[in-house]
């Protein structure tokens, strides 16, 4: 048995959001620095620039993915949940936390009625991401 399974679970969990953040920041930088058009005019972002709202995805989300993968490893013998189903539950915590943090730091104000319908879509996206991406990384790390 390979040692430190929880460390490997954490490492496998943080890869995908870290890479996704890189892609998102590249798109934003392309619009800001090359097209010289703020992204909110292209994608209909809230009024605040992305640089301020990126704090949550950069600081919190990757760590939560890593911890959530550790939780799956610790509980899978009892819950028998597939990693995809376990990952799809994460938006139930992430979305309210993100909205709460955004309001607390006065980064933006998203109404809950606007966020609620998006949560199932996020859960589906997370289901697929955790099944095929995190699951593959767990397999590579020997903890699947």
């Amino acid at each position: 048995m390979r040692p430190r399974p929880y460390l490997r679970a954490y490492m496998a969990g943080i890869v995908i959001p870290t890479l996704a953040l890189l892609v998102i920041m590249s798109v934003d930088a392309y619009h800001v620095f090359y097209l010289e058009v703020p992204s909110q005019f292209v994608f209909g972002l809230p009024a605040r620039p992305l640089e301020r709202t990126i704090l949550f995805p950069m600081a919190i989300v990757p760590n939560l993915w890593g911890v959530w993968n550790m939780v799956w490893l610790a509980t899978k013998s009892r819950t028998h949940l597939p990693v995809a189903v376990h990952g799809s539950l994460l938006p139930l915590f992430l979305v309210p936390a993100g909205i709460l943090l955004g309001r607390t730091l006065e980064l933006f104000h998203i109404q809950m009625w606007y966020a609620l319908p998006a949560i199932p879509v996020g859960m589906i996206a997370y289901y697929l991401a955790w099944k095929f991406l995190v699951g593959s990384l767990n397999h590579e790390m020997g903890i699947a």
């Binding site: 959001p17 953040l21 992204s39 994608f43 995805p57 879509v121 589906i124 996206a125 397999h139």
Partner: protein, 70 residues
């Protein structure tokens, strides 16, 4: 009380002897098979991906909302 001479005999009697230095079958193909195993994409997975794409096309603003949490 069991003395020191009796204990090894009891242990040997209780545990199966491992008198071979080779496994009963070649384990390497199983290792290779496991490492090459890939998760198959089912029809349901394609349907879920299609749902996400269609919803994001219908509500483009949700893309950044979801990206914010990714």
């Amino acid at each position: 009380m069991i003395d020191d001479d009796r204990l090894p005999q009891l242990l040997k009697a209780a545990l199966p002897s491992v008198d071979t230095d080779q496994p009963r079958r070649d384990l390497w193909p199983a290792v290779i098979r496991r490492s090459e195993t890939r998760v198959e994409v089912s029809f349901g997975d394609w349907s879920l991906a299609a749902i996400v794409i269609v919803v994001l096309l219908m509500f483009p603003k949700w893309f950044w909302f979801l990206a914010y949490h990714l």
